[in-house]
């Protein structure tokens, strides 16, 4: 992919540079082997993990560190499943202890059915964690005002959703995502809702800095192929954004010369 990456700059978050603009999750795969191959195919350098109790009745194999080499992949602990700022802060600290890094994907959920974020609690938790020295990548909705507050709170990246977590509905509101990108200076990563490669491509064409996804890969019929598709789709959308698309027009324009026709 060198040639295509040569046409782009790295994604820099909190001073750390990534060649890949695709961040992937590690949940819901049919097997750990499939997960590992899919993540390899995705080209992702940063992968998210959850913090949970050790299952004292099951074999050790469930732990992520048995499957993903932290030397190769930058592990980003999340606070998925937390419904209050306090809870999210607690999980962020545990993630830091487990991963030895100060990075966290902050999620504070406000509703169980939609898994939409509680933006008030998210801003509150972000302030505390930033004060503790965390690099906070904050999952949020498409609200510009909240996005601006998360940036003011010192988040390393703001991550609006494309559509609800695990829905696969794609980028429902390109206007708001574009607006957020145009108004923030920190990286904007679209998190959640992407369902297939064209969703990823279209999302990157809005000018955002990257995409975080999980279900679209894990639930594809062939996760490895889909991971490669997403890797290419993200690059394609990024380059198309940088290239600057042709104008849309409702009148046709010939591609071949109209002059020089025979009698």
């Amino acid at each position: 992919m060198s040639s295509s990456q040569a046409m782009d700059t790295p994604l820099v978050i909190a001073g750390r540079a990534f060649e890949s603009r695709l961040i992937v999750g590690t949940g819901k795969y049919r097997s750990n082997e499939e997960m590992v191959r899919a993540i390899e195919a995705s080209g992702a350098e940063m992968v998210t993990v959850a913090v949970r109790r050790v299952d004292l009745d099951r074999t050790r194999e469930e732990g992520m560190l048995y499957h993903l080499d932290p030397q190769r992949y930058f592990l980003l602990p999340n606070t998925a499943g937390c419904y209050t700022a306090e809870e999210a802060i607690r999980y962020a600290r545990l993630g830091r202890a487990a991963g030895m890094s100060y990075w966290v994907k902050l999620e504070v959920i406000g509703d169980q059915r939609t898994l939409l974020p509680d933006v008030v609690a998210t801003v509150e938790a972000a302030k505390v964690l930033v004060a503790e020295g965390f690099s906070v990548l904050a999952y949020t909705n498409e609200d510009l005002i909240t996005a601006l507050r998360l940036e003011d709170a010192g988040c390393a990246a703001v991550m609006p959703l494309a559509s609800p977590i695990g829905s696969g509905l794609g980028l429902v509101n390109p206007y708001f995502v574009r607006e957020i990108k145009s108004r923030l200076t920190c990286p904007v990563i679209v998190d959640a809702g992407v369902g297939t490669a064209s969703d990823a491509c279209l999302t990157m064409e809005q000018g955002v800095d990257g995409i975080l996804m999980n279900t679209a890969l894990a639930e594809a019929q062939d996760p490895v192929r889909m991971s490669m598709a997403m890797r290419l789709g993200v690059q394609a959308g990024r380059l198309a954004f940088l290239a600057g698309r042709m104008p849309r027009r409702e009148v046709a324009v010939p591609s071949s010369p109209t002059a020089g026709m025979l009698d």
């Binding site: 999750g25 590690t26 109790r53 004292l56 732990g63 202890a97």
Partner: protein, 67 residues
């Protein structure tokens, strides 16, 4: 015997059991587990020296697959 709660379940431990001993008993590698002892995250360096007391609450966590 002491009564403690580990990951939400009541357990009996011999008095004087250390966190290291508990992990060993549970077959858990210290490098791969984070221990929250009575709501305080315990530094790995302290596993040896830290004794579990009657009524303590321990959470043993690690990374699992998530998005």
């Amino acid at each position: 015997m002491m009564r403690v709660v580990v990951n939400g379940e009541a357990r009996q431990l011999a008095p004087g059991t250390t966190v290291s001993a508990l992990l060993a008993e549970l077959g858990l590698h210290p490098r791969l587990v984070v221990v929250e002892h009575n709501r305080e995250i315990l530094d790995r360096a302290m596993f040896e020296a830290t004794q579990v007391h009657d009524g303590d609450n321990l959470e043993l966590v690690h990374f699992v697959g998530g998005g």
